[in-house]
C-alpha cells in the first residue's frame, strides 16, 4: 500500500524551514464570514479549539461542583427532610450526568482529532488541506449544532434542579450511559432531545474520521510511504477507523432509544418484551471503542513529543505504529467487559475477559518503546516533555489498574465502584488530557506564531499533576472499600457501626479537584499570556523533523509554498539549534557529521 515512487535521497531536498511571511492563515482573509465559511483546515481547527475548550470548561466546572457536593456525606441521618434530600439527589444526578456526557461527547472524543488533528494532519502530510474541506466544515457545524443543543438541554436541567426557572428545564439524569429501562421509562430528563444531540455529535465525529482516512490515503507526499508516516498520523488513522466503524452503531442505538422513549417501540424495555441488556450491547459496541478514540491520538502525540525532546530517533517505530492498529481492532471486541455482572452468559464473559487482556499487550509495548527511546537520549525538559512524562506515568497506572478489572473474579467486587471511576479517569483524563495539553504546548508556536512563558507553564504543570493524583488516587482506595459510583450521598458508618472512612477519601479527592482546577486555569493563563505578549516563534522551535515544522509559523493559507518531500520523520540528524529567534535550522555539515557518528556507532 506504499505510495513511495522511485528512489528518494535519504534527506531529499534540504528540509530548511520556510521563513515567516506577513501573510498567514490568520490574516489571509478578513471578516467574520471569512471564518464562518472558511474551508481552511487550520481555521476550522481553531474554531473547534474555542468550542471544545469552552465545553471542557463547563464540564470541568460541574466536576468541581460534584466534588464539592461530595464533601458532605449528605445522609438522612444529618437531619435533612426526605423532600430536601430528594431535590439534592436530583441536583447531583443532573450534575454528574452533565459532567460525564459533555466531557465524553464534546471534549474527550473530539479534542485531539478535531483540534490538533485538523490543524496538524494536513501539514504533516505536506498537503494544502484535508481531502474534503467542505465535509470538514460540515463536521464542525454538526458539532456546533449538536453541542449547543446538548449543552442547553443538560444545563437547563441542572439550573432547574438548582431552583432557577429556565425554559425547557428538563435536563438529563440518566448518566451519560443512557441505560434502559431507566432512560426510556423512568428518567425525569428529556431523553429524546439528548439522544438527538448525541446523534448529531456522532455524525460530526464520523465525518472527521472519514476525512482523515481519505487524506492519509490520498494526500501523502512524495517520499512518505506508509512506514515513513509520523506516528501521530498512524494514531489518527487508527482512531478514524474506529470512528467510522463504531459511531454508526451509536447513531442507531440512540435513534432506537429515542423512538423507544417517544413512541415506545419496546426494543429495550422489558415491560414491552424488550431486553435491557441488549441496549448495553448496542451502547458499548460503540462506547468501548470510543475509549480508544479518546486515548489513541494521545499516544500519537506522546510519540512525537518524546522524539522531539529527547533528540533521538523513536525506538521501534513499526511496533508502535502496528500497536495502534492492533489496539484499534481489538478494541471492538472487548465491549462486554462493561457487562460482566449484567447477567450475560459466562461464555461471553470469558471471551471478553480474554480479549480485554489482549489489549493490554500493545499498550505495554508502546510504553516500553517510549522508555527505550529515552535511553541514552539527550533529554530537554521543556513543558511538552513534562506532560509527555506525566502521561507515561498516569497511563501506566490507568492501564495497570485495568488488569484488576479484566480479571473476572476481581472485577466482580470492584466494578461500578469508585475504583472504576478512578481507573477510567486515569486513562481518559490522566492520559488524554495530559497528551492534549502537551500537544497544545508543542504545536502552539506553530498555530499562533507565539512562544509562551516556560516557567509559568511549568508551575501550571505541577499544579495539574499533583492535583490530578490527589483527586483520583484516593478513589481507588474508596472503591476497593466498596464505595459505589454515582452516589449523591454515602454512609458515614457501616452497618456494624464501624466508620466507613468514605468521608476522608472524598475530602482528599475534593481537595485534589480544586488543586487541579487551579492548575488548569493557570494553563489557560499561559496560553492567553502567550497570545497577548508572547515572543515571535521561529518556524521550528523544537528541531523536529516532521513536515509541519517546515512551513512558517503561523503557516500561510496554503501551508507550503512548494510541496515538501518527506523523509524519515524521526531522523533528527542535521538539525542545529541557532537561537531563540531563529530556532532550529537544517545544516548539511551537521547532517553529515551526525550520520557519520551514527554509522560509527
Amino acid at each position: 500500500m506504499s505510495a513511495v515512487t522511485g528512489p528518494i535521497s535519504y534527506h531529499g531536498p534540504t528540509p530548511q524551514p520556510q521563513r515567516a511571511s506577513s501573510d498567514n492563515y490568520l490574516n489571509h482573509t478578513r471578516g467574520v464570514m471569512s471564518w464562518a465559511f472558511t474551508l481552511d483546515h487550520k481555521r476550522i481547527g481553531l474554531m473547534y479549539m474555542i468550542g471544545i475548550l469552552a465545553s471542557f470548561l463547563l464540564a470541568g466546572l460541574f466536576a468541581i461542583m460534584v466534588r464539592t457536593m461530595l464533601w458532605h456525606p449528605l445522609t438522612a441521618e444529618a437531619g435533612a427532610s426526605q423532600g430536601a434530600l430528594n431535590s439534592a439527589h436530583d441536583l447531583y444526578n443532573h450534575m454528574f450526568t452533565l459532567h460525564g456526557a459533555v466531557m465524553v461527547f464534546m471534549f474527550i472524543i473530539p479534542s485531539v482529532p478535531a483540534i490538533l488533528g485538523n490543524f496538524i494532519l494536513p501539514m504533516q502530510l505536506g498537503a494544502k488541506d484535508v481531502a474534503f474541506p467542505r465535509l470538514n466544515l460540515l463536521s464542525f457545524y454538526c458539532w456546533v449544532v449538536g453541542g449547543v443543543f446538548f449543552v442547553y438541554l443538560l444545563l437547563s436541567g441542572v439550573l432547574h434542579a438548582m431552583g432557577f426557572n429556565v425554559p425547557g428545564g428538563y435536563g438529563l439524569d440518566t448518566g451519560w450511559t443512557f441505560y434502559t429501562p431507566y432512560s426510556d421509562a423512568k428518567a425525569q430528563g428529556s431523553v429524546v432531545a439528548a439522544t438527538i444531540g448525541v446523534f448529531i455529535l456522532g455524525f460530526s465525529s464520523i465525518l472527521t474520521g472519514l476525512n482523515f482516512i481519505a487524506s492519509i490515503h490520498m494526500l501523502r507526499p512524495r517520499g512518505m510511504g506508509w512506514f515513513k508516516m509520523p506516528l501521530f498520523l498512524w494514531a489518527l488513522y487508527s482512531t478514524s477507523l474506529i470512528q467510522i466503524l463504531a459511531t454508526p452503531v451509536l447513531a442507531i442505538t440512540v435513534m432506537l432509544l429515542c423512538a423507544e422513549r417517544a413512541i415506545g417501540i419496546g426494543i429495550f424495555d422489558p415491560a414491552r418484551g424488550g431486553d435491557p441488556v441488549l441496549f448495553q450491547h448496542f451502547f458499548w459496541f460503540y462506547s468501548h471503542p470510543a475509549v480508544y478514540i479518546m486515548v489513541l491520538p494521545s499516544m500519537g502525540i506522546i510519540s512525537e513529543l518524546i522524539v522531539a525532546f529527547s533528540r533521538k530517533h523513536i525506538f521501534g517505530y513499526s511496533f508502535i505504529a502496528m500497536s495502534s492498529l492492533a489496539i484499534a481492532l481489538l478494541s471492538f471486541f472487548v465491549w462486554g467487559h462493561h457487562m460482566f455482572i449484567s447477567g450475560q452468559s459466562a461464555v461471553t464473559d470469558a471471551i471478553f475477559s480474554l480479549i480485554t487482556f489482549a489489549v493490554a499487550i500493545p499498550s505495554a509495548v508502546k510504553v516500553f518503546n517510549w522508555l527505550a527511546t529515552l535511553f541514552r537520549a539527550d533529554i530537554r525538559l521543556k513543558v511538552p516533555m513534562m506532560y509527555a512524562l506525566g502521561f507515561i506515568m498516569l497511563f501506566t497506572i490507568g492501564g495497570l489498574t485495568g488488569l484488576f478489572l479484566g480479571t473476572l473474579a476481581v472485577d466482580v467486587p470492584l466494578t461500578n465502584t469508585y475504583f472504576i471511576v478512578a481507573h477510567f479517569h486515569y486513562v481518559m483524563m490522566g492520559s488524554t488530557l495530559f497528551a492534549f495539553i502537551g500537544g497544545m504546548y508543542y504545536w502552539w508556536p506553530k498555530m499562533f506564531g507565539k512562544m509562551y512563558n516556560e516557567t509559568f507553564a511549568h508551575v501550571a504543570f505541577w499544579f495539574v499533576f499533583v492535583g490530578f493524583n490527589l483527586t483520583f488516587f484516593p478513589q481507588f482506595i474508596a472503591g476497593t472499600k466498596g464505595m459505589p459510583r454515582r452516589y449523591a450521598s454515602y454512609p458515614v458508618l457501616s452497618s456494624d457501626g464501624r466508620p466507613t472512612h468514605f468521608v476522608t477519601y472524598h475530602r482528599l479527592s475534593t481537595t485534589g479537584a480544586y488543586t487541579m482546577g487551579t492548575g488548569l486555569f493557570l494553563v489557560l493563563g499561559t496560553w492567553i499570556q502567550s497570545l497577548r505578549r508572547g515572543k515571535q516563534a521561529p518556524p521550528n522551535p523544537w528541531g523536529a523533523n516532521t513536515l509541519e515544522w517546515r512551513c512558517p509559523s503561523p503557516p500561510p493559507h496554503d501551508n507550503f509554498t512548494e510541496t515538501p518531500v518527506a523523509d524519515d520523520p524521526y531522523d533528527l540528524s542535521g538539525w542545529k539549534y541557532v537561537s531563540e529567534e531563529v530556532g532550529w535550522v537544517y545544516d548539511r555539515e551537521q547532517a553529515a557529521a551526525d550520520v557519520a557518528a551514527h554509522v560509527a556507532h
Binding site: T29, M33, S34, F37, T38, L39, D40, P122, A127, K128, D129, V130, A131, F132, P133, R134, L135, I206, L210, N211, I213, A214, H217, M218, L219, I244, L245, A246, T247, P248, V249, A251, I252, T253, M255, L256, A259, I263, G264, I265, G266, I267, A271, R272, G273, G274, D275, L278, F282, H557, D558, T561
Partner: protein, 307 residues
Amino acid sequence: MSSTEQTLAADSHAGHNGHHDPHLAHHFDTPEQQYTSGKLGMWMFLGTEVLMFGGLFCAYAVYRHNHPEVFEYAHQYLDRKLGAINTLVLITSSLTMAWGVRAAQMGKRGLLVALLLLTILGGAGFMFIKTIEYSTKWREHIFIGSGNVFYESNPETKPQSVNGLEEEALHINEAKPETVATVKVEPDVVDPNAGTPDAALIKPPNITPAGLSEKVKAGVTERMSYNSLVKQDQTRVYTFFAIYFFMTGLHGVHVLVGMGLITWILVRAARNEFGPTYFTPVDLVGLYWHLVDLIWIFLFPLLYLIH
C-alpha cells in the same frame, strides 16, 4: 457558502502552478486524484451506512431468535405482492441510475437527464407503494406504540377507544375471557354502601389483541392463528411491527434523501456540467442510490418472506 469557496479556491489556484480546471480543488494535483478521493470517501460513508443498518439487523436477529413464532404470525399482515413489486421498482431505478452514470461518463447529456428522471420516478413509485402499505396498516391500527391493536393492555396506557372496534372487542371479550386481564377487586374490602368503584375504569382497556377488522382476521385465520401464540407473545406481536416500521421507515428516509440528491444532479446535468473529465457527483450519488437498493434487497425477504 459556495460563493466563498469559489473565491478561496480561486486565489489558492493563483499560487498553484498547473491546470485551471474549475472543478479541481486547490489541494489536489490531478482530477484523477480528486476523483479517487471522492470515491474512497463515498465508499467509507456507505460503510458507515451498512454498520448503522447493521444495528437494526442485529435487533431483528435477536428478536426473531427470541420469538420466532411472533415473527411468523405477524409478518402475515404484510403484503407480499406489494413488497415484491417494490423490489422490482427499486431494481429498475438502480438500472437507470447505473446507465445514467455511463451516460455521464460518455457526456451524453440528453440521455443522462432522461435516465435521472426515470430514476427519480422509480423512487417516487417506491415511496407511493410504501405509502399504500403504511396507510393500510394505519387503518387496521397496526402501528407503533399505544393505540396499536396488539398493544399490551397495561394500566399505564390509557384505554383507547378505537373506532369501529368496540363491539367486536366486546364480543371477543366474552368469547375468550382468558385473554382478558381482569383486575380482582375484593368485595369484602369495598364498602357496600359506597357502591363499587367505577366499573368502566376497572374494566380492562377495550382494545384486546384479537380486536382486528374482519378483513384482517379473514386473511389471518387460514394461516397461523392468533391463539396459537403463547400469552406473553400475543402482547408482543407489535414488537415485530416496531421493527418493521423502524427499518422500512429509515430506509424510506434514505430513498427520499436519494431522490433529493438525484434531483440536484439532474439540475446540474441539465446545465451540462458533466462530461468525460468530470462526472464525480453522478457517480457518487449513483453509489448511494445503489446502497439504498442493496438494503432493500435484504429487508424484503427478512420482513415479507418469513416462513
